[in-house]
């Protein structure tokens, strides 16, 4: 089914459409959330909450405001970051700030995973360091371009072109 149609059905509370969207995005959202909380069970729980929140607030989404993927990505990142700010979480976890998403790939021991079968993980961990930083901030952490520019101490224009080149490289790795 076409994505736009799927989304409008989802907004009309069609469970079938919801299930399809869930299948499309749940791994991705889990990945983003896990990268922030670094706990599989907590990540799973937050991820489910994210999709339920999306369902309950489906009407607030509009294509004009951005991609559906980006909308749900935002909900996911915010939910995960909220979790890391909760007291109980802070007490049980060490400081995670210095870790990048690629660390997960390097430490991952589930070698028979679907994603690894096509070697994506291996290639992604080979992305240049400068790409890893910018991708981490913009996609996994949800920084605005201004925040990313301040964190990496780089002009916004540089962030834009660097990110573009990095995503170009990523596309040659993961698409076909």
């Amino acid at each position: 089914m076409q994505l736009e149609l799927l989304i409008s059905k989802f907004q009309e509370k069609d469970e079938k459409a919801f299930e399809e969207l869930y299948t499309m995005y749940s791994d991705s959202m889990h990945g983003v959330i896990y990268n922030i909380v670094r706990d599989h069970d907590i990540a799973e729980e937050i991820m489910q909450g994210v999709f339920i929140k999306a369902w309950n607030n489906a009407s607030s989404y509009s294509a004009e405001k951005g991609r559906f993927f980006t909308w749900i990505l935002n909900i996911a990142r915010n939910a995960a970051i909220d979790k890391t700010r909760s007291k109980a979480f802070k007490n049980s976890k060490k400081n995670l700030a210095a870790e990048y998403f690629v660390d997960i790939l390097q430490h991952s021991d589930n070698l028979d995973e679907q994603t690894d079968a096509i070697g994506i993980k291996k290639f992604v961990s080979q992305l240049a360091k400068k790409c890893i930083e910018v991708i981490e901030l913009l996609y996994f952490k949800g920084y605005t371009q201004k925040e990313a520019s301040e964190t990496l101490d780089m002009p916004i224009g540089t962030i834009k072109t660097r990110n573009r080149n990095c995503i170009k490289e990523l596309r040659t790795i993961v698409l076909k």
């Binding site: 509370k13 469970e15 919801f18 299930e19 869930y22 299948t23 499309m24 995005y25 749940s26 791994d27 991705s28 959202m29 889990h30 990945g31 983003v32 896990y34 990268n35 599989h40 990540a43 799973e44 489910q48 999709f51 339920i52 369902w55 309950n56 004009e64 405001k65 951005g66 991609r67 993927f69 980006t70 990505l73 935002n74 998403f101 997960i104 790939l105 589930n110 995973e113 679907q114 994603t115 994506i120 993980k121 992604v124 991708i135 913009l138 996609y139 996994f140 949800g142 920084y143 605005t144 371009q145 834009k160 072109t161 990110n163 573009r164 995503i167 990523l170 596309r171 993961v174 698409l175």
Partner: protein, 273 residues
């Protein structure tokens, strides 16, 4: 609109990341509807990001929709039973409404003007920033120049310095150079401003000479002659030189000087030795 330039600007990658402002998002959306190339690009970026983010997930076949479906039910019925709210206020138009609208339009216009002003200021700020960077660069360059000059001045003033003027030879009579030789620290400072640019494929080579019998010792080639601004070169020289000469040699230098390409030559005054 130049679509390729728009795509190359990197804005679409930020769009998918959700890193743009609300207005920018709207703009991208409009462009996407008008230009299929832009939509295609966005779809590819999105697909790549979905794959990338999924790699950090633990892939469980247990990630079933069923667990979500069960949690939906109560919410779904909640909304259905929500009571409808019917407004009882009657629409009423009076002078307050009209002055209200007038005020709103005024404020809107003022806001628009302010936004424009702001944009203009921001552009100017960026220009100023660029100018500032250029000036800073100039200052840094001047500082480096000044240091080099001071350094050279100290060399000239050193009492241990032996000055050896090198005069133009043969067909190169109009060229000249000067060697400032500091015997103590075994180095010479060569001021080669009086030499023309080295032609392509050729380099100047500096020689220390013993006169009786005539034995040349290479002090090396000046590979950066053409690009150096002040044409002053520091060269190590531990020889008991009696004269200095400069020849033009093929790139990489020669074992012995090519005498018909001898540009300048100067003898160290005997009073020193």
């Amino acid at each position: 609109m130049d679509i390729t330039a728009y795509i190359d600007s990197g804005i679409l990658e930020l769009y998918v990341a959700g890193a743009l402002s609300e207005n920018e998002n709207k703009e991208v959306y409009e462009h996407m509807r008008k230009h299929p190339e832009i939509l295609h690009e966005v779809l590819e970026i999105e697909a790549a990001i979905i794959k990338l983010t999924a790699t950090t997930s633990r892939n469980t076949n247990a990630r079933l929709f069923e667990s979500i479906r069960q949690k939906l039910k109560p919410n779904g019925s909640d909304t259905a039973t929500e009571p409808k709210v019917i407004s009882i206020a009657k629409p009423k138009y009076n002078w307050l409404t009209y002055t209200g609208w007038a005020a709103a339009i005024l404020i809107g216009a003022a806001l628009f003007w302010t936004l424009n002003q702001n944009q203009e200021l921001e552009t100017r700020l960026v220009d100023t920033q660029i100018e500032k960077n250029n000036l800073e660069e100039q200052i840094a360059n001047s500082k480096t120049d000044l240091e080099a000059t001071k350094n050279f001045l100290n060399v000239l003033r050193d009492k241990n310095i032996i000055v050896v003027p090198l005069g133009g030879q043969g067909e190169f009579a109009n060229t000249y150079a000067k060697v400032y030789w500091n015997k103590k620290d075994n180095s010479i400072y060569l001021d080669a401003q009086g030499l023309p640019e080295a032609p392509a494929g050729k380099v100047y080579q500096v020689w220390s000479l013993k006169l009786d019998p005539l034995t040349p010792t290479s002090l090396g080639t000046i590979d950066d002659f053409n690009t150096d601004d002040n044409k002053i070169f520091t060269i190590a020289n531990a020889n008991e030189s009696e004269a200095f000469g400069i020849t033009l040699e093929p790139e990489g230098g020669s074992e012995t000087p090519t005498m018909d390409q001898l540009y300048t030559l100067g003898v160290v005054k005997s009073s020193e030795s």
